[in-house]
């Protein structure tokens, strides 16, 4: 989780930051909740923890996806080392040429 937030500080782009932070923080909080379940056994507290895991696993990727789409639609520039921009290419195009640098 700390490494995910370090990625939030250090990486050069919005999309890289989203990629680094969302996965690590979701996994960190879910493992803390699994620790609660293991420590408390079969109790109301572990039931709430299980429900919280389910909600985190549903909502966190959804909001990350929506944020990435909103960031793309608001025309944030990609960083200089970006290799390919699949979202800009035509989806009907079979062999997309990724050799040319994206704008």
């Amino acid at each position: 989780m700390v490494l995910g937030c370090l990625g939030l500080v250090r990486l050069p782009d919005v999309y890289n930051r989203l990629q680094a932070a969302t996965k690590c923080v979701t996994l960190g909080v879910c493992s803390m909740l699994i620790g609660v379940i293991i420590q408390k056994g079969f109790s109301p507290m572990s039931g709430k923890a299980l429900l919280c895991i389910v909600f985190i696993l549903i909502t966190s990727p959804t909001s990350a996806h929506a944020l990435a789409r909103g960031a793309y639609k608001s025309k944030v520039k990609l960083c200089n080392g970006t290799v390919c921009d699949y979202y800009k290419l035509d989806p009907n195009q079979e062999n997309c040429n990724c050799d040319e640098p994206s704008a």
């Binding site: 989780m1 995910g4 500080v9 923890a49 909103g70 944030v76």
Partner: protein
């Protein structure tokens, strides 16, 4: 006891890095991403205090915080996308 202090400092480091990105983010989507991550890290704080005090209601707080953070993230994304809130 030692691991509690370790987890507490890890969470404090995560929150301070999120706050740095909220304050210094060059573009608005950076701030949106950092706010979303901060909501998830605060769930970790709620879990830690629930384990230390043994109270149930901190997990209720964590549950509600997850859903509120989800609504906040979705509305920020719609705002960034340039649409209004009613479509």
């Amino acid at each position: 006891m030692f691991y509690d202090i370790l987890f507490l400092f890890a969470l404090i480091a995560s929150v301070s890095m999120c706050l740095y990105r909220i304050g210094m983010g060059p573009t608005p989507p950076d701030r949106g991403v950092a706010i979303d991550i901060l909501g998830t890290v605060m769930v970790g704080f709620c879990v830690l205090s629930a384990l230390k005090t043994g109270n149930d209601f901190y997990l209720d707080v964590a549950l509600a915080w997850t859903l509120i953070s989800f609504i906040g993230g979705i509305s920020l994304a719609k705002f960034l996308e340039g649409r209004r809130y009613d479509d």
